[in-house]
């Protein structure tokens, strides 16, 4: 019962947040809507019994990346964001520009249809497992997997983070004018 409620709430939050990212004109609002969506996804993880992943999601994504985005918005003058350029057909773009939305919808439709094909072949051939109430904790096992089976990916990801760290610092450092 709890699971179902959690599920519905999380799903609503996720989807509402996603649509919010799409719809709002203000970039700050988009970031907040993304934050909400990410929290909803964490909830969805929780319903599936992926406890560690859910928590990691909140800590890293919500607490780190979105904050970073907000900083970037503040550093690039998001509030005063006015676009001068034109879009594909030479019309002045705005948030409610019909063409860009229709383009996006077109792309989304393509994707949906594609995925429908995928899903159709996959989904109904799977055994329909239900979500049950009791889950084992995944932390121990994830720890074991990270060190034993996926140790290479683990190490490489740490190298990757180092690289990203250094790179970002170099790219965005202030230049002497």
């Amino acid at each position: 019962m709890f699971i179902h409620i959690l599920f519905i709430l999380s799903a609503t939050l996720t989807l509402a947040g996603a649509f919010g990212v799409l719809a709002t004109k203000n970039i700050m609002h988009s970031c907040i809507f993304l934050l909400a969506s990410l929290i909803g996804i964490a909830g969805l993880y929780a319903t599936m019994g992926a406890d560690f992943v859910a928590v990691t999601q909140i800590m890293v994504y919500v607490g780190g990346i979105v904050i970073l985005m907000l900083f970037a918005v503040m550093l690039t003058g998001g509030k005063d964001f006015v676009s001068k350029a034109q879009n594909l057909l030479g019309l002045a773009p705005s948030m409610g520009n019909k063409f860009t939305y229709s383009m996006g919808l077109f792309v989304g439709l393509v994707f949906v249809l594609t995925n429908a094909k995928l899903l159709w072949s996959v989904a109904f051939s799977m055994s329909s497992n239900e979500v049950t109430e009791a889950y084992p904790s995944t932390v121990n096992e994830l720890g074991h997997l990270l060190i034993k089976d996926h140790v290479l990916a683990f190490e490489l990801s740490s190298v990757l983070l180092l690289g990203a760290l250094v790179g970002a610092a170099i790219i965005a450092r202030p230049r002497k004018q």
Binding site: V107, V110, L113, T114
Partner: protein, 719 residues
Amino acid sequence: MEYTIGSIAPIFLAPVLAFVINAFIGNKLPRKGDWLATLSIFVSFIYSAKIFGDFVFGKFATDYFVHKTFTWFDLNYGDFVFKVDMGVYIDNMAAIMLLMVSGVATLIHLFSTWYMDHDERHGRFFTFLPLFTSAMLGLVLSDNLLSLFIFWEIMGFCSYSLIGIYYEKEKAGDASLKAFMTTRVGDVFLLLGMVAIWMVIGSVGYVDIYAAIAEGKFVGQTVLGISLASFAGFCIFMGGMGKSAQFPLHVWLPDAMMGPTPGSALIHAATMVAAGVYLALRMYPLMVIGDLTSFIAIIGAITAFGAATIALVQSDIKAVLAFSTISQLGYMMIGVGVGSYNAAFMHLITHAVFKACLFLSAGSVIHSIHEQEMPKMGGLRKKLPYTFFAMMCCTLAIAGIPFFSGFVSKDRILGDALYFGFMAGQSPLMAIVPILGFAGAGLTAFYMFRMMFLTFFDKPRDHHIYDHAHDEHLDARSNVPLLILTVFTLGFWYCGTLTGQSFGKVFGEKTEWFKILVEAPKVENFVNHSREEFSTVDTRAGVELEKAHYHHQTGYAGPNPDEHKIHTAHTIGAILSIIIAFSGVFIAFLMYIKKSVKPLSGKFPEFTKVLQAKYHFDELYVGIIIQKGLLGLNRFLAWFDMGVYDRFAVDGWAAVNRTLFRASKWFDNVIVDAIGVDGAGVAVNLFNLVLRIVQSGRIQFYFVMLVVVLASYIWTINI
């Protein structure tokens, strides 16, 4: 006598040597080399006389012959056999003919040295005359049809040169070409006949042909549905028709009188025209098994009579002699046709002698008065006594007056023709042969004496010519040849009796030598003949032949011989021909000396014109056959070649090429240049345009593309 190369070859080679020397350095020799030619012919005469003596006085056997061969070329290869032998074949007939030809030729050469003395073609004449004589002697000596044909053609060429010797005269050129072309028609048939014989036997030697006939190799062979023997015989006889001026190939001989008279004497009396009869006599067994003898007899009869009718109205002395030659050749062919082998050959010999004498006498007349037309002559008896005497004897011979040679031979022919026509069981059509023969004999007597009377008797009709005529003196070169020939126009040289009919045997058996020795070849004798090599050594086995003897031979080799009936026919024929000959002379006497009978030409003017136009044969051949037929065909073929073939096959290619050129030019310009070269640039521009849109630099556009492509991948994967 030994028969080796040394004893036979000089007959043929001596005149050839004279020809070669005269051809190259004749102009530098004194008198243009005429003495050299005469000497060479005399050498041939000596050798021929030796052979004649051996055959007639030595061996005296009917079936005796000498046959020597040598291989000309031999192309044998495995199964394929092709061997051509050349050689000599001398039997009694050939020996007599050799003597006659070389003797007459010697006298003619001697005469020509006087006749052609101030003629501008003197050297040329004496270049071709010995060549001609050597060709004839080679022809008589040859043992196969191929070498006969070679000499035949050489004679044709010499005749062409001699007739057209005055080449500045257009008529002479036309006449020589006409002679050559007409005999050529016959020669083509002769070659065809030779090929036909070769196909059956594989050789064209006389001996091989006789042996093949005896073995029956010709039986059952057909070509184009007719028996091969008939076909070959007909073709060979056509060759003889051309050379011996039989109807319908006789048109060349009158025009051949454009040549110098001694040349005519040799060519158209003694030698070339006799070659056709000689060929028919040699090929007589073939004619027999080909059933052609009746055909030959009819052709001969038509020729004999027709030419005699034309000669009645001719006014040129040489034309009369020309037509009389054609007529007498017709008699020889009658002889071959009716089976009178011996008499036909005898007539050939006797005709050669007296016709040569007649031509030479005519030449003497022409030389003295420089005129050929008889209406302008007259009363030349006193001016040219020796010529007159010679010509008179020869005219008596040709008219068939008894005791002369012409009577002997012609009467025997007519007697056999009478038997053949009426009594030998042939079809009634064959009666034409003796009828025309006797009629022609009468006409012969008439027109020859007409000629004599117009020329030598009566009062001179043109005093200018008469006064300026050279008087004749006995001269070694101008008269003696005539007189020598005249001696041999007497009958008793050829047969023992004075009349030729064995009514009175005067001198015994051997005087009938001619009749005994010359006989139609018995083909059975040649079946197992062995070859002797013609070399410097005589390799004959010493075979003694049975000496011939006079045994009531009739000399008749035709169908159904019945000795008693033949004798009857000969008796009737003799009486008939004497009557006819004398009446002919008498009528001529009445017409031209007594003038009591008007010449019939006045009564039948249109017919006279037809005769004078020689029955319009020239117009027929030239105007219709050549102009309309052959030239029409020629024009058609030329049109076809140029208009059709050239236009389409040759010029058409140019049009095709032009079209191909235009097509390839279009292809090059449009497809290669416009589409290929320029099009590549345009395509690049087009793609450029498209790519410019794609490479907009806008990231979101790239992303859309990315998604679309990804989706397309997924859609195309079969999951």
